[in-house]
């Protein structure tokens, strides 16, 4: 049923991604199976971000993301382990209620012992990364490209592996990207 809706929704574009809200902006975490997307979303929520989704970024024609607040589904023991479901309130989080513009797209996967030093992607490469996770991409390519192009134009898009989710979440929420600084620089937000 979710697949059908995600593929055929007329006014929304469904991207397979986790989403949280922070300082009036959405953080998207597109993710393939086993990338650690849900663990990072859980860590972001536990660190104070509002929960929007563990499964789909639901985008409108303006590139804003709407809540899709099904319970988080985590594999505590990693790949092959049984999934545990959490409501955001059960982990001390709050649920987002309003659509948000996308501020950050974080393309990352867990690597044992990994250092979190993501680098910015160009807008074009960012669209390809999002397109690879977009449900109606083949059915409505023009509409999808328009929406993803808007997202890539308004958001910083970073890519890089990470270590433990709790540490990465703290770095993301505390980074210069979310401070009202004119010197905000995506290339250096996670260095040093």
């Amino acid at each position: 049923m979710e697949l059908y809706i995600g593929d055929r929704a007329r006014r929304r574009i469904f991207v397979h991604a986790g989403v949280v809200g922070w300082n009036g902006r959405a953080i998207l975490v597109p993710g393939r199976s086993g990338s650690g997307k849900s663990s990072l979303v859980k860590a972001l929520v536990e660190a104070g971000a509002s929960y929007y989704s563990d499964e789909f970024a639901v985008l409108d024609e303006r590139g804003r993301v709407h809540p899709y607040t099904i319970p988080l589904s985590i594999r505590p023991g990693g790949d092959g382990a049984a999934r545990t479901k959490y409501r955001a309130e059960e982990i001390g989080g709050v649920v987002g209620t309003h659509p948000l513009p996308v501020g950050l797209v974080m393309i990352t996967r867990w690597v044992r012992g990994g250092q979190f030093r993501p680098r910015p992607l160009s807008a074009g490469r960012a669209v390809l990364e999002l397109l690879a996770n977009t449900l109606p991409a083949r059915r409505r390519p023009e509409r999808v490209l328009d929406t993803l192009t808007q997202v890539a134009a308004q958001a910083v898009v970073l890519r890089g592996s990470r270590g433990e989710a709790v540490k990465a979440a703290g770095q993301i929420l505390g980074s210069d990207l979310f401070r009202p600084s004119p010197e905000r620089n995506a290339a250096t937000a996670f260095t040093g």
Binding site: G124, L128, A132, P141
Partner: protein, 162 residues
Amino acid sequence: MESIRPRARTDRLVTRDLGDELLVYDLERHKAYCLNHVAMQVFRLCDGETTIPDLAHRIGDVLGVPVDERAVRLGLMRLEKARLLDGPVEPILHTSRREMLSTLGRAAVVALPVVTAITVPTSAQAASGCLPFGSPCTGSMQCCPGLSCNASIGNPGLKTCN
């Protein structure tokens, strides 16, 4: 070589201009490409009437930096591989990126054409998060059912789902 006048394909393509990059969606093959600023100019200026030396001059004028003909040939080779050129193209002198850098030095990096490609997933593949056929991978568990992560034919250093 002077007689080659390549033409960019226009049929069954959707494009989006991002300023210094071009997105191209191939409706026939469900592949999407990101052309960097050099590849974008090669693609745009391939009108079926312009020779490769003239392409190099025109692209250089647009970019404001000298563009070597070998860079244009590299771009054409990459566009041809992506099936973004119209019709069969006469054998283009194949120049690899390594050869370009060794003969021209690091300055050539500025004017190198880059074409990044993905296979656009079906809705089921996108929802499951698995990688479709032809996608780069590091392990078979990333690939969609029925596929495994293996070295690419012709490029043993690259593993793809196949």
